[in-house]
């Protein structure tokens, strides 16, 4: 007998997590990408490397440090005490923070590439047409970088949906709070509930296909506009 809520709750939680993470990443990642694309600071590649680390780090390593960070003895614990909680680990908020760090490179890199591809010229043109730097950013840089933002949003979302190791380390497996899709699938397999595992896993396959297809179509369309 399939309990639908055991499927829906992780699905809903995952979508909430991925949506929130993606939105936060667009807000946080855009200024970082802008700085990386335009700064002439010599140490900017060091910052770029730090941002990119989650690509190569084993998720468990990242999860381990995040656990220390979010736990009762880390800064996360201090933050949590503001609203009377003991820790940020094993909470949805902690999961969001972990996801933001984990998916950061997948959002920052495409946006940075897009800003770099625009180059200096359109911004110089805007300045000679009386646009302040802030104005030029909104009226010229952002619209021209739109394809990069689409790629970034899609990748950031998809990557957050697929995370497993970090979630397991800092979120645990609390239904309705931290039990996301990937963990739910793992659980179903562990307990040999193949039907549920099939439904969720098959759904993920379909989801991934749609994501990749959407990206390819978007890319084609933007390259045609640029031609």
């Amino acid at each position: 007998m399939i309990d639908a809520s055991q499927l829906w709750t992780p699905l809903r939680l995952t979508l909430e997590l991925a949506t929130l993470t993606t939105l936060l990443l667009l807000v946080v990642g855009t200024p970082i990408a802008w700085w990386l694309a335009r700064s002439r600071a010599r140490w900017k590649e060091a910052v770029a490397a730090i941002v990119a680390m989650p690509i190569v780090l084993p998720p468990t390593v990242l999860g381990f440090y995040l656990l220390l960070l979010l736990g009762p003895h880390g800064p996360g614990g201090a933050v949590a005490s503001l609203w009377g909680a003991r820790t940020l680990a094993f909470t949805f908020e902690g999961l969001v923070l972990g996801s933001v760090i984990y998916s950061m490179p997948f959002v920052v890199q495409p946006i940075r590439n897009a800003f770099e591809a625009i180059g200096n010229r359109p911004l110089e043109v805007a300045a000679t047409l009386r646009a302040t730097p802030w104005d030029a950013f909104w009226s010229v840089a952002l619209p021209l970088a739109r394809p990069g933002f689409l790629t970034a949003a899609v990748l950031g979302f998809a990557h957050t949906v697929g995370e497993f190791g970090v979630v397991l380390m800092i979120g645990g497996n609390i239904p309705g709070s931290t039990k996301v899709l990937s963990v739910a699938i793992y659980d179903f397999v562990e307990t040999q509930r193949w039907t549920e595992a099939h439904i969720l896993a098959g759904g993920m396959v379909a989801f991934s296909f749609v994501v990749i297809l959407a990206m390819l179509v978007l890319e084609r369309r933007t390259s045609r506009v640029g031609a």
């Binding site: 010229r121 110089e124 805007a126 000679t128 730097p133 104005d135 030029a136 506009v225």
Partner: protein, 374 residues
């Protein structure tokens, strides 16, 4: 050129990488001033500094407004300078329509500011009305550059800076766009700094010339003075010429000639040009001018004007010398150059101060005009 409040004063010292720039010049607040020199002489850098896109030590003052004074710690950012800048390659915003491109700067002009350049006028002046609804991707190079010029003008600039705006275009597009630039020159009370390495373009457009070489100013002044300066390389060029301005005085329909009054005489130019009273640019090539003592009695050359020799290029070793003649019975008119053989110079015993007749075999009207802009 010295009245600071009515001029563009530029003084720059500094290096960008291995390149050293050390320039100082003043240009009038009207007409086209060409920054002319070989590639790599620093002309684009100067233009970028005037726009505030590049910063070198120095001082830039436009009509009394200090834009930059490194000594006083003043550097006005680009968006507050109100320059119109036309880049070498037409840099239209891809994400905006032609019309939104045109209005990008116009929308950022404060309502309290005077905005003498209206969309309809600029559209008419540049002949771009039929392009407004199109996407920028569907435009030719020449059309894009015209939109870029219109966009710059509609931002109500106090100066227009043009960085080799024709160099990225093919020959046909150049010929298509040049008449529009000539119109701007004639119709707008806006100073233009025009960077170019093509002297034919400069002759067609410029009133004032700043000659640059290896990051320094070689000479600056009215173009026709520099063209006749024996110290400068312009007069030594194979096709050395002088640009003069004339007024159309009448048309001789029987012979298909146009009479053009210049300071110091009247010239006949082939073709029927009009209307009477309009100012035109003429180009007289030094090799087309010969000199005679006394008025020639019978000659096929229709343009023979009295004048007085004011300078002779005596340093030249070759078979030919350049002689500068001031037109008019007493040498009070415009100056032109005549390239004659050293043999004739000796044979006629020509010397500075003597009266001669300049026989001008060819005069070219260089400013063409399209009927659409009338």
């Amino acid at each position: 050129m010295t009245a600071a409040s009515a001029s563009i004063a530029v003084e720059l010292n500094g290096g960008l990488g291995s390149f050293q720039l050390e320039v100082r010049f003043a240009a009038p607040m009207r007409g086209i001033t060409a920054l002319f020199g070989p590639s790599g002489c620093g002309k684009t850098t100067i233009l970028r500094c005037v726009a505030g896109l590049e910063r070198l030590a120095g001082r830039i003052v436009l009509g009394g407004e200090v834009w930059q004074d490194e000594a006083a710690g003043i550097f006005r950012p680009t968006h507050l300078r109100h320059v119109g800048y036309v880049f070498q390659e037409p840099s239209l915003f891809q994400h905006l329509s032609v019309k939104d491109n045109l209005l990008y700067g116009a929308r950022r002009v404060r309502a309290t500011e005077s905005a003498p350049l209206k969309l309809d006028d600029i559209v008419g002046l540049l002949g771009i009305g039929h392009l407004l609804g199109r996407s920028t991707a569907a435009l030719s190079g020449g059309e894009r550059q015209r939109i870029a010029v219109g966009r710059a003008l509609l931002a109500q600039p106090s100066i227009l800076l043009m960085d080799e705006p024709l160099s990225a275009l093919d020959r046909g597009s150049k010929e298509e766009i040049l008449p529009y630039f000539e119109m701007l020159h004639e119709r707008l009370a806006l100073p233009i700094l025009y960077v170019s390495h093509d002297f034919a373009e400069v002759e067609r457009l410029a009133d004032t010339l700043v000659m640059l070489d290896k990051g320094r100013v070689r000479a600056a002044g009215p173009i026709r003075e520099l063209q006749l300066d024996l110290e400068l390389p312009l007069i030594a060029a194979a096709d050395a010429a002088v640009i003069i301005e004339g007024t159309i005085a009448g048309v001789d329909r029987a012979f298909g000639l146009t009479e053009v009054d210049i300071e110091g005489g009247r010239l006949l130019v082939p073709g029927e040009h009009g209307p009477v009273g309009q100012k035109r640019r003429l180009r007289i090539t030094a090799t087309d001018v010969s000199l005679a003592r006394g008025a020639p009695q019978a000659s096929t050359i229709v343009n023979s004007l009295p004048g007085r020799i004011v300078a002779i290029d005596s340093e030249v070793q070759g078979p030919q010398v350049n002689v500068i003649v001031a037109l008019g019975a007493h040498g009070q008119g415009l100056r032109i150059a005549a390239r004659i053989t050293r043999k004739s110079l000796a044979g006629l015993k020509l010397a500075v101060g003597e009266e001669v007749h300049a026989q001008i075999k060819g005069v070219a009207l260089i400013a063409t005009r399209t009927s659409a802009t009338q």
